[in-house]
């Protein structure tokens, strides 16, 4: 009889995912979108060479945004967080989209979240989901700190120095910094699509960590 009582605890624990405030909380219902660890590992192994290199670029520039704001977050930090959230179900990976699309979305929202939260001078890499940013943090993000301004200004100046003499790159970078779209910049500067892509490539290469850019 007694063993039944203990098995109640064990059976209940197996159904529980976590403890909050010392209380065992029931498991979240498994949705159709829930993925197993093995599925995620298999998907990573199946990523193509181009996918992996694209993901590297995306993680690099998403984290470069944060480093330029004075945050010590590197691409691996963002990737770690995106994977952890996918594994524990905080970020759902719908079956309708590829792992690449999912991870790119995670990196984007994590970087935006961290940039917003930084307004409060405190960033945790395991905060709320991006969708759950409290309104007060979002509001504070409109009020950059002196440190944030200093870093951003310094990095903008460094980009200008790095491309000193390459007016095309500087003009394209300025257009992007003004949130102009590619076609708008092309029209403004009288560039063909291919010409624009070539200039953008010079900009990307110049900002590549392996080309000596300090980011």
């Amino acid at each position: 009889m007694r063993s039944s009582f203990f098995s109640l605890g064990c059976r209940e624990q197996r159904k529980c995912r976590h403890v909050e405030d010392g209380r065992l909380m029931p498991a979240r219902p498994k949705s159709e979108d829930a993925r197993t660890d093995d599925e995620i590992v298999k998907a990573i192994i199946s990523l193509s060479t181009a996918d992996l290199l694209k993901l590297e670029k995306v993680a690099y520039f998403r984290s470069a945004k944060l480093r330029g704001l004075g945050l010590g977050i590197d691409p691996q930090d963002l990737v770690n967080d995106a994977i952890e959230r996918t594994l524990d179900g905080r970020r759902k990976w719908p079956r309708s989209i590829s792992l690449m699309t999912h991870l790119c979305g995670c990196l984007r929202s994590l970087a935006n979240h961290c940039a917003d939260e930084f307004a409060g001078k405190h960033v945790s890499m395991t905060p709320l989901d991006a969708e759950e940013i409290p309104a007060d943090i979002a509001l504070r993000s409109q009020l950059p700190t002196g440190e944030r301004i200093h870093h951003a200004r310094e990095f903008l100046a460094e980009i200008l120095r790095r491309f000193d003499g390459d007016d095309e790159v500087i003009l394209v970078a300025e257009g992007l910094a003004k949130e102009m779209s590619g076609p708008e910049i092309q029209k403004d500067l009288g560039l063909t699509e291919q010409g624009f892509e070539t200039i953008l490539k010079r900009l990307r290469h110049g900002l590549d960590r392996k080309q000596g850019w300090r980011l």
Partner: protein
């Protein structure tokens, strides 16, 4: 130009470069990396290992959290935060009410609790503590 603009401009530039990278075709990505003088295969493999190590890291963190949660749950069992009545009659009534509130627990308990009246007092207390730790205990004054 205000200081706020510098932050916005820098963020917009990096966002644009990341967005553009997302939209690149496979051919563009491969050519871009080759043109930068990098080793395509080696860099891709390094990224794959980086993703796989992130999985390992997340799984380890999950195991540590689970172990901590288990330890905490055991500690809570030792010190019940809910007062369990001293009176045996009130204890059994509390058990009945608690099980009635959680049909799924009651269902699991059917075999053990088929004849609840015959449960030893020690077992009643132990069961109440387990229910308390699960947050499934009714209040004594319900």
């Amino acid at each position: 130009m205000s200081s706020n603009d510098d932050v916005k401009r820098y963020s917009a530039l990096m966002d644009a470069l990341a967005d553009h990278a997302e939209g690149m075709t496979d051919e563009q990505v491969l050519a871009d990396v080759r043109d930068a003088g990098r080793d395509v295969a080696a860099d891709a493999e390094a990224m794959r290992q980086s993703l796989l190590s992130a999985v390992t890291r997340a799984k380890s963190a999950r195991l540590i959290r689970a172990a901590e949660a288990h330890t905490l749950a055991l500690e809570r069992l030792k010190v019940p935060v809910v007062a369990i009545p001293n009176d045996p009659v009130r204890r059994r009534r509390l058990l009945d009410r608690s099980l009635a509130r959680r049909p799924e627990v009651q269902q699991m308990m059917t075999v053990a609790y088929r004849d609840g009246k015959s449960l030893p007092e020690d077992d009643v207390e132990s069961l109440l503590k387990q229910l308390a730790s699960l947050g499934a205990l009714a209040t004594d004054d319900e």
